[in-house]
Every structure is written in structure tokens, then in C-alpha cells.
């Protein structure tokens, strides 16, 4: 039916009035003393307890992303960009509204699964398994991951615990593990491509490859240049609300005007 008019427009992610609320324990009332906590519990009202402070991080965001799009997310710090990404990935439950996706979107990042007390070698395997790769896949790609990270360029560091790495080395290994898997809907949070100049070039190239393989890409970044280079559509979030949604140039211009650049 109507599909014939726009054969290319297949939605991959639909966000329908998404609200996300964080609940923070022990931040309510400003007083942290034991008596304050006790009185909070005793004075607990109906429904919500008073010791819990709510942070409404995303407020009613709706949009539809289509296959083949690369979408940038911009906004000042704390505007809810990363939170929205996690909700799309199904990692943070929504308070209200729904996110529909085609397949399983994945967040590019594996940091949380790695353990600094283990060797780089074991972390490659652990990280790969945590991302849902099979043992065979990891075995196949192991050498590629290590070579890409360049960890072994200055000696046999992959067999040392990760806590002995410099922060740059650790970041390189983390990126290499995270980027080893292909995704349908890929979400990239800013500042992934850390490391020296040589590694940055290598990782930008890898992100472009991943983009090609993925159906839809979301990129959170504070660098307007990298948004311009990679995205054709931009969502501008501010205080958890979708301020603007449109072609990259248009939104970036408005954003730059607003942030006084």
C-alpha cells in the first residue's frame, strides 16, 4: 500500500512519549544524618517514600528512526542524551511511554564487564562473552582485537592485569573489544575514540565501518564536527525534552546560535 511511495522508509526505532525517571536514595531533604533518614521513613507518605528523590531525566520524547539513518544526539551536559540511548537499548526501563525497536539495539561499550584485576587476555574473552559473542567468534577475532588495540606494540602487555595499563592503553583495549562486534542498531556514546592520534584515526575508521554494517546509528557527541561528518539527522535534547529534530545543518545552526558559539 502506502509503502510503495517511500520504499526506503523502514522504521527501526520508534520512541513514543518516553519518560525516564531516576530514583536516588538518600538524596532527599538535603540532610544526610541518621535521624533525618529515620524521620523520613517514619513520615513516609502514601505511595512514594520521602527519602527518595526523583530525577526526571527524559520528558516525553517521541521520534521515529529509519533504516540507513545516522542520527546525532546533541545537547548540553545532563540534558538526557545518554539516558535516552540506554532507554532505546532497553537497558533503562521507561517510566511512561514505549520504545519499539527492530531487533536488539546495542550500546557500543563494554567497560562495565571488564575487571581491572584480570589480564587483558582474559578481559578480551570476558568482554566478548558479555556482549553476546560465542566462544568461537571470540577465538576467531581475538588476534584482530589485540592487534587493533596496539597493546602489544610495546611488549607483551596483554598478559598483564589491566590495572597495570596506562589510562590510554586501557581505553584502547576497551574500544577494541567493544568495536569487535557488528550490530543492527548501533549506539555510540561520545568520547569513545580516546588514545593517541594514531589510534584515533584507526578508531574513527572502525566506527565508519560499523556504521556501514549497522542499519541505524545513533551518535552522542559534543563535537559538532564529528556530528556533521557522520550524521544526516540530529535530535537536540535540552532538560530531557526534544527541542528540535531535523536535518543536521538546520539543527546544528540553531544549536550553535543558542549555545552562543
Amino acid at each position: 500500500m502506502a509503502d510503495d511511495k517511500n520504499p526506503g522508509r523502514v522504521p527501526t526505532v520508534i520512541a513514543d512519549d518516553v519518560h525516564i525517571v531516576y530514583r536516588v536514595n538518600g538524596a532527599g531533604g538535603g540532610k544526610g544524618s541518621a535521624t533525618a533518614a529515620l524521620s523520613r521513613i517514619l513520615r513516609r507518605g502514601k505511595g512514594e517514600s520521602r527519602g527518595v528523590r526523583k530525577v526526571h531525566a527524559v520528558r516525553g520524547v517521541s521520534f521515529t528512526a529509519y533504516r540507513g539513518e545516522a542520527i546525532g544526539l546533541i545537547g548540553t551536559n545532563g540534558s538526557g542524551k545518554s539516558t535516552l540511548l540506554r532507554a532505546i537499548a532497553g537497558l533503562l526501563p521507561t517510566e511512561h511511554g514505549k520504545v519499539y525497536t527492530d531487533g536488539q539495539p546495542s550500546l557500543l561499550g563494554v567497560n562495565a564487564a571488564l575487571m581491572s584485576d584480570l589480564t587483558g587476555e582474559r578481559n578480551v574473552v570476558l568482554g566478548g562473552l558479555a556482549m553476546g559473542m560465542s566462544r568461537e567468534e571470540i577465538h576467531e577475532r581475538y588476534q584482530g582485537i589485540v592487534d587493533f588495540s596496539g597493546i602489544n606494540e610495546k611488549g607483551d602487555f596483554i598478559t598483564l592485569p589491566m590495572r597495570t595499563y596506562s589510562s590510554g592503553m586501557a581505553a584502547r583495549l576497551r574500544f577494541s573489544i567493544a568495536a569487535a562486534k557488528n550490530h543492527d542498531v548501533l549506539m555510540i556514546d561520545e568520547a569513545l575514540a580516546t588514545g593517541d592520534r594514531k589510534f584515533q584515526i584507526r578508531s574513527e575508521k572502525r566506527i565508519r565501518e560499523l556504521r556501514k554494517e549497522a542499519g541505524t546509528v545513533f551518535l552522542v557527541s559534543h563535537s559538532n564536527k564529528s556530528i556533521r561528518d557522520t550524521c544526516d539527522r540530529v535530535l537536540w535534547l535540552e532538560k530531557g525534552e526534544l527541542l528540535m529534530d531535523g536535518p543536521t545543518d538546520e539543527v546544528l545552526k540553531a544549536y550553535e546560535r543558542e549555545t552562543g558559539k
Binding site: 502506502a2 509503502d3 511511495k5 517511500n6 522508509r9 523502514v10 522504521p11 527501526t12 526505532v13 520508534i14 520512541a15 513514543d16 512519549d17 531516576y22 530514583r23 517521541s62 521520534f63 521515529t64 540506554r86 532507554a87 532505546i88 537499548a89 532497553g90 537497558l91 533503562l92 526501563p93 514505549k98 520504545v99 519499539y100 525497536t101 527492530d102 536488539q104 539495539p105 546495542s106 550500546l107 563494554v110 567497560n111 562495565a112 564487564a113 575487571m115 584485576d117 584480570l118 582474559r122 574473552v125 570476558l126 562473552l129 558479555a130 556482549m131 553476546g132 560465542s134 566462544r135 592485569p161 537536540w236 535540552e238 525534552e241 527541542l243 528540535m244 529534530d245 531535523g246 540553531a254
Partner: protein, 309 residues
């Protein structure tokens, strides 16, 4: 921000394309999109969990290794820690308090050490379970996997820890005159059942702990009470023989006491079937199946809600 830009956003975000006029839900249904992060069915969940078995194993082994990786003696602590634990309990309950009423020294020492190790298995599984989700929020918020992987993984870690303790336990048993025999093989079914029981309990605690992290503060007291009530360092029927029967019965049929008694029975020559309550194997199996199933279903019911801050 001015309202005009906001209105602009609304107009732009629903462009006049083919699917114009459909609601989000209809559009999603039309193109076969599913709700992100929705809870899978129970059997699908089990299938996903099975698919992640290598991750579960790798994670538990990694945690176990990471535990002692900074220590000079390294993995030797896997065995040294339970050994020191057994020594402390022997010092206090064997030498100072003398709770070995009704038992010879040859029976009491292995009796005590078995009790400590087997109870520690349950205790540390519960404690790890409480923190399984609340202590790993970073992981839960970054990657996709059936969340039950975490509590199961922690229980497995405790099981591996127990296997190291069994080395010490075997040495203690031999030192006090209980030599390896076929009956030692009964340890395997006993521990398998205890593992299922512990995992179920860890799953229950993981869900409770994800809602109420305060449990991590409370549980040590609950667990200690449970330990003293389960006859880790004394024989329940001997100690309570002046009290009404039902008290001893309740204590003896509690799962911790059941699994301890089974391992003692399997391991210690002088600890015969007369010390065990009736139908002990059936009760052990019933506890494992009951808590294992209840824990799994209870945990699964909240699958989509883990990770909320």
C-alpha cells in the same frame, strides 16, 4: 526555551511520509517492531540464559580469580582462607566452649569444619545475591543479557570456592580417622541440591536487593541467626533434648541443617544415619526444587525492571 522551536520539533519529528496517520503502536506493529527491553516468556528466558552459559561461567571464574589477584600468595588463599576459618571455629567451639556434647573428638572436628564450610556456601551465596544486581548496575545498564546470569554466576563462584574448601575438608576428615570411601560420593548429590537451593535463594535476594539495597546491611544478622540455629557447631538433637520435640524438628528440617547433615553423613565414619532426621534425602530434594523454582520465576517476573536507578 521558546514554544515556537518546540512546536517546530513536533512538526519535524512526524514527517508526512507513507505511514503518516498511524499511531506509534500501529506503525511498530506494521513493521514488526517490538518493545525494547520487554520481558521474554519463561521458556524463551531459559533459552537465552542457556545461550549465555559461557558468559556465566567466565564471569564467575573471573570474579573468583580477581578476588586474590593482588595478594602475594595469590590463589593459595582459596585454600588458606577456609583452613584459617576452620581453625578459628575449632579454637572457640572445640577448645574453649566445648560444644561437642555427645560426640567424640574424632567426629566433632570434621563435624564442625563441614558445618562451617557448607553453611558458608549458602551464606555467601545469599550475600552475593543481594548485591548481584544492585552492585553491578553499571553492567546491567550497559549490556544486554538475561539478568539472572548475575545471581547464578555468583552462586557458581561460591560453588567453586566450596570446591577449594573441600580439599581442606578432606584433609581434616583423614586427619581425624575418616578415610575416603564410596560413601564420600554422596557429597555430590548433596552439594548439587544445595547449589540449586542457594541459587534460588540468591535469585530471590537479588530481586529484593535491587529494590532495597539496605538488605546488604541487614542480611549478615539474619544469616548469623540462621547459622546458630542450624547446628553448625553443635548437634541439634543432643543440645535440645530437654526442650519440646517440635523445636528440634523445625531446626533439623531447615534446609541449611539438612544439607550440612547430608555432607557430614557422607564424609564422617562415626556420624551414622541415626543422626539424620527421617526422609532426609527427600526433604533435601524438596527444598532444592521448591526454592530453585520459586526463586527463578520470582526473579524473572521483574526482569525488565532491573537497572532502574
Amino acid at each position: 526555551m521558546s514554544d515556537t522551536t518546540h512546536d517546530g520539533a513536533v512538526a519535524l519529528s512526524t514527517p508526512p511520509y507513507a505511514d503518516d496517520g498511524l499511531s506509534s503502536a500501529e506503525l511498530a506493529a506494521k513493521h514488526g517492531l517490538t518493545v525494547s527491553g520487554a520481558r521474554p516468556g519463561l521458556f524463551e528466558y531459559i533459552r537465552q540464559l542457556w545461550g549465555r552459559r559461557h558468559f556465566i561461567m567466565a564471569f564467575s571464574r573471573a570474579k573468583l580469580t580477581a578476588q586474590y589477584s593482588q595478594a602475594k600468595l595469590g590463589q593459595l588463599w582459596q585454600v588458606a582462607t577456609p583452613l584459617l576459618n576452620a581453625l578459628v571455629y575449632y579454637l572457640i567451639f572445640g577448645l574453649i566452649l566445648g560444644t561437642r556434647k555427645g560426640m567424640t573428638q574424632e567426629v566433632f572436628i570434621p563435624f564442625l569444619v563441614t558445618g562451617v564450610f557448607v553453611f558458608t556456601f549458602t551464606q555467601s551465596s545469599v550475600m552475593a545475591g543481594v548485591r548481584a544486581i544492585s552492585g553491578n548496575l553499571g553492567l546491567v545498564r550497559a549490556l544486554h543479557f538475561p539478568r539472572a546470569s548475575l545471581p547464578i554466576s555468583f552462586s557458581l563462584q561460591q560453588l567453586q570456592q566450596l570446591l577449594f574448601s573441600l580439599i581442606v575438608l578432606a584433609a581434616v576428615a583423614v586427619a581425624f580417622g575418616s578415610y575416603p570411601s564410596l560413601s564420600w560420593l554422596l557429597i555430590i548429590p548433596a552439594l548439587v541440591m544445595q547449589f540449586v537451593f542457594n541459587t534460588g535463594l540468591a535469585l530471590i535476594m537479588a530481586r529484593l536487593g535491587s529494590k532495597t539495597p539496605d538488605l546488604a546491611q541487614l542480611m549478615p544478622f539474619v544469616m548469623r541467626t540462621w547459622m546458630y540455629a542450624s547446628g553448625v557447631m553443635f548437634s541439634i538433637p543432643v543440645m535440645l533434648k530437654d526442650k519440646p520435640d517440635w523445636i528440634a524438628n523445625v531446626l533439623q528440617y531447615n534446609p541449611a541443617a539438612i544439607y550440612m547433615d547430608l555432607v557430614r553423613f557422607a564424609l564422617i565414619d562415626g556420624y551414622g544415619a541415626g543422626n539424620l532426621p527421617a526422609h532426609v534425602w527427600i526433604v533435601a530434594l524438596a527444598w532444592a526444587v521448591l526454592i530453585g523454582l520459586v526463586g527463578f520465576v520470582y526473579f524473572w517476573k521483574a526482569e525488565e525492571r532491573y537497572g532502574r536507578g
